[in-house]
């Protein structure tokens, strides 16, 4: 069955001044696929994600997200195609119930309103207890916070889900649950791009790319 290309990167080069992080990078990610980018620290993995989100420009090459070429005029449009979870996300919300609703207040996400039932459904798949919803953010662990935000990102139902180090704070059991969760989301039609050091996570993906 033909699936759409959700993310296409052609001949990308990211450099800061004289320092070239990588060049000639190509990637094609389709609907119902997970790609994992791994590599040593400092090789530009997070910079690549930042480039897809329009935060840093490519030195050369181009990025196309859901058939929209990324350029100055289309940055906002491209970002609306994406649900993004940065690494070690720390938001200034006091309560978990505030934190999970942050992206749902945006105009771009009006078509997918927040639903506690959906959130709890995803919590259970990710091995999280419903009680966490009523807690303060500083009462939950980094790993719990990470999984909660993964659930939130999935609820946004965007064509492309970008996640930076989804299992860095997790034990192997929880990491497996996260991979299974992503595979389930993928089968529902999402394209997922992850950056991860975790070899067992990377091996569970359709594409493994090393930078």
């Amino acid at each position: 069955m033909e699936t759409d290309t959700i993310l296409q990167i052609d001949d990308a080069c990211i450099a800061f001044g004289e320092d070239i992080l990588f060049s000639g990078f190509c990637l094609q990610l389709h609907e119902e696929e997970i790609a994992c980018i791994s590599g040593q620290s400092g090789r530009g993995k997070s910079s690549l994600l930042n480039a897809i989100l329009g935060f840093i420009p490519l030195r050369t090459g181009r990025i196309i997200v859901n058939n929209i070429l990324l350029e100055k005029a289309t940055i906002d449009q491209v970002r609306r195609q994406v649900a993004w979870i940065p690494q070690e996300l720390s938001l200034p919300s006091e309560w978990v119930k505030e934190m999970v609703q942050l992206p749902f207040g945006l105009k771009a996400n009006r078509s997918t309103p927040f639903s506690v039932d959906k959130l709890f459904e995803y919590f259970s798949e990710l091995g999280l207890e419903e009680e966490l919803y009523d807690k303060r953010v500083n009462e939950i662990s980094g790993g719990q916070r990470q999984r909660i935000m993964i659930a939130v990102a999935a609820m946004l139902q965007k064509p492309l889900l970008i996640v930076d180090e989804p299992t860095s704070a997790l034990d192997p059991d929880s990491a497996d649950k996260v991979l299974a969760f992503f595979r389930k989301q993928m089968r529902k039609g999402s394209a997922i791009l992850a950056v991860s050091h975790d070899q067992s996570f990377a091996q569970g993906c359709n594409q493994m790319i090393t930078l």
Partner: protein, 269 residues
Amino acid sequence: METIDISYASLAIGLLLLIIPLFYLWKFKTGLLWVTVIGVARMIVQLFFIGVYLKYLFLWNNPWINFLWVIIMIFVASQTALARTQLKRKVLFIPISVGFLCSVVCVGMYFIAVVLQLENVFSAQYFIPIFGILMGNMLSSNVVALNAYYSGLKREQQLYRYLLGNGATRAEAQAPFIKQAIIKSFSPLIANIAVMGLVALPGTMIGQILGGSSPNIAIKYQMMIMVITFTASMLSLMITISLASRKSFDASGKLLEVMREKRERNILY
């Protein structure tokens, strides 16, 4: 009822009271003794200077000169705001000048022409104090708000980028920081309004009663002054942030370097 003048001799006797606070500043080695002495000396010189030029403003009572005074005050206030926020001139100067000018003109003129219904809207007796109090309050509340806005953006970059990356418009991504700036800047004023008159007589009323007004008139002016300063401060802040934001972020929405290089704290401002 004319106000009693204070002769220079009486002024000197009054200034002697400062011995009390100066003594404790010295006793506890606060390091503020000379700053205070210099500050008081500056206050005396500055107020005498202001007294002279106000005398002529009132004497001439010329609309063009009064308006020129407003322009000069806006320039001085914008400079002061630059110094107190340490923001770059090219980011803040024009936005805050426009913010001050639009607010002071709209709100000040609304009060003088529509509320007071003065025949001569440029009459110095009303024009100068009203515009003066608006400028002073706008400056102090906007400085607090701008500091909160930009320091919030710098500190909570993760939140800002998270919102942008997940589809927020620029305005939506800036909104939580504008919210914090408003709360920080206007909470004291709002709390003040709620207890106005309960704890102490507010400044405008004191001035009017000392000047011979009946308390009945004084309270109405006090209410109006609170309303117009609140409105002008909020309006100028919104205009300033809206204009300054254009120079504060790059094309991808990233916060630019908006602070000036750190220099020694200038006590002049």
